[in-house]
Assembly symmetry: C3
Homo-oligomer: 260 residues x 3
């Protein structure tokens, strides 16, 4: 028996929005410690890693570890039927081929259940090595989303340069070229709006804009985003999920030959 | 001479939105007692019945009964030119082949008139027998619209089961199955949000989702909707139009052979 | 060296919206006195004339007159990257083949620059004679936009009749005919909402709706619009740009043979 309950469906809806553009289907690994999802995106370029800890749920029970393969478009359809303040419970039998989502309104006058067929998906277990990064940038998530969306209009590749002073995003293309510079800020009174940089050494790396845009679908999950970069290793874009865990996206830098 | 005036164009705009998805054109029967419209939808499956009583208008004059055949897409275009708080007057000569809509702003500084050609439409006079229903459900109209829209994503047919405890809407399809249960509520302090059921005997009937969705275009007309059901007779979905009358939609249940 | 700065990008964004539907590209003539743009629309029917005076900018420097040919779709893409309250600076070298737009956030923590290639455009220098008009109508710009949009649904040509009492807009087409009458108002307490008419002699002229609709893209620039009409000369539709200048659109009336 598996059962996990959240008092607000809003979080789960946002989690799904954060992954469904990159993944058509996904395996959710459920165990005593929580729910994990790890998968390459549909084009096998970037990697998504989601962790929802069991202690962040309002109720969590997992008698036996199980893996549930879900079609994310179907799951998204179902979650859109929940009101943001509905309680949501995910339920499955140990050897079930279906999962059930139960939505309860606050006053219990409306109870909905949606049963969805599970899928058998090939599991790729991916080792993600822990790395020390040359630069770790923390900034408002809406600012990152805005920059990526703005610059993607002018070119396919964005160059991110990080120094102690700040971070610069650059693209160039047919129309011309564009640069957006963010200075490191020191306003500790409004920490949520600050740009902070932890730097061992400066880094300049290029990335495909289209994947960064997909990553920013996670913006509603957190007011802050963290970018971790080192030469020759994938960029990590991380959004915290309050009290529950995090979602991390990994994207390898473009090497120079790729850029033209 | 026919002349009917409402001090707010908003109601008439909502009435038109409530019928124009089901009907391309319609005959408005105008008499001393008011305006009536009765028609099968374009696919001849459901029936729409609209009554606007003469005493609900701010001014109403109908010297001789007349029938005005109107193209509803054209009428909708015209009504969209009115501001919600404009006074609207519908005018026609006794033997006219045009109808005129006059919109006046509150301060009279803007007066618009739109003259539209009338159409000769075949009239089907449909007798609708009065029935005693096994179940009459009253609920918030937005809740009904939400349930119908949510469930229509998962199948073409919705089963509505009504008992004393409450009403259950169910669909099943490729993705899986879904049930939404509403309990009868007894909060007389917020009557508008309550779900109330008058039941002679339990009823379970299946209906085509697509028509129910069209009916819910009437939602802006009223905070409440009433569903009346008996075995083997059409469902009646009714929305009151404050002070003026009502709109009713009739839809025959699917018999079991139809359901697959 | 050319440099022009505005403390709010919003105005420049609105100016571009006001011209980009009519013009694919345009030559901005920059001189000591300010920035001028004059061009026939893409179909060579109407004329756009834009004036931004140098003294309306927060900083303005133009060492040598220059003409910058810009692709307006590209320029619009760039301006959409500015926040409304960003400071915007337009920069070019005297003999440059690029122009640079710099956006600075209020607290200077974000600075973006967009460099765009310039184009060589054929320059048509158009003499616009000053005319005394038979009728000059001033009215709320949103009201004018609403009337033009409403009536364009019913026909391609709008007849504008101006007398001392007011102005009437009329169209007719397949659906029927429509008239919108605005009375001259004398409420000096709410001057912004008034309709005022200066008339030497009554005028009735017909115009193609589609161009009037394009002109109303300038509505966000000003709460008021001014229509100037005389028989046999182009209509002038003018929107003031607060502190900076104006945008004027010219459109020749249709002669009767054109109307069918």
């Amino acid at each position: 028996m598996f059962e996990a309950r959240l008092t607000s469906a809003a979080t789960l809806k946002k989690v799904l929005e954060a992954v469904k553009e990159l993944l058509n289907e996904a395996s959710f690994d459920c165990s005593d410690s929580g729910i994990q999802l790890q998968a390459m995106d549909n084009s096998h370029v970037s990697l998504v890693s989601l962790t929802l800890r069991s202690d962040g749920f309002d109720k969590y029970r997992c008698d036996r570890s199980l893996t549930m393969g879900m079609n994310l478009a179907s799951m998204s359809k179902i979650l859109k039927c929940a009101n943001n303040d509905d309680t949501v419970t995910i339920k499955a039998q140990d050897d079930a081929d279906t999962v059930t989502f139960v939505f309860e309104s606050k006053k219990q006058e409306k109870i909905s259940d949606y049963e969805m067929k599970l899928m058998n998906l090939d599991q790729e277990h991916l080792g993600i090595p822990e790395t020390d990064f040359s630069c770790v940038i923390r900034m408002p998530s809406v600012e990152f989303a805005r920059i990526v969306r703005d610059l993607a209009q002018f070119g396919e590749t964005v160059l991110i340069c990080c120094t102690k002073e700040g971070v610069k995003f650059s693209v160039s293309g047919d129309v011309g070229s564009a640069n957006v510079k963010l200075a490191q800020t020191n306003n500790f009174d409004k920490e949520e709006e600050s740009v902070s940089i932890e730097m061992q050494e400066p880094v300049s790396l290029s990335f495909a804009c289209q994947y960064l845009i997909s990553f920013t679908k996670a913006t509603p999950l957190s007011p802050r985003v963290q970018l971790s970069m080192s030469s020759n290793v994938p960029l990590v874009v991380e959004y915290e999920i309050a009290e529950l865990g995090y979602i991390r996206y990994y994207l390898a830098p473009k090497i120079e030959d790729d850029e033209n």
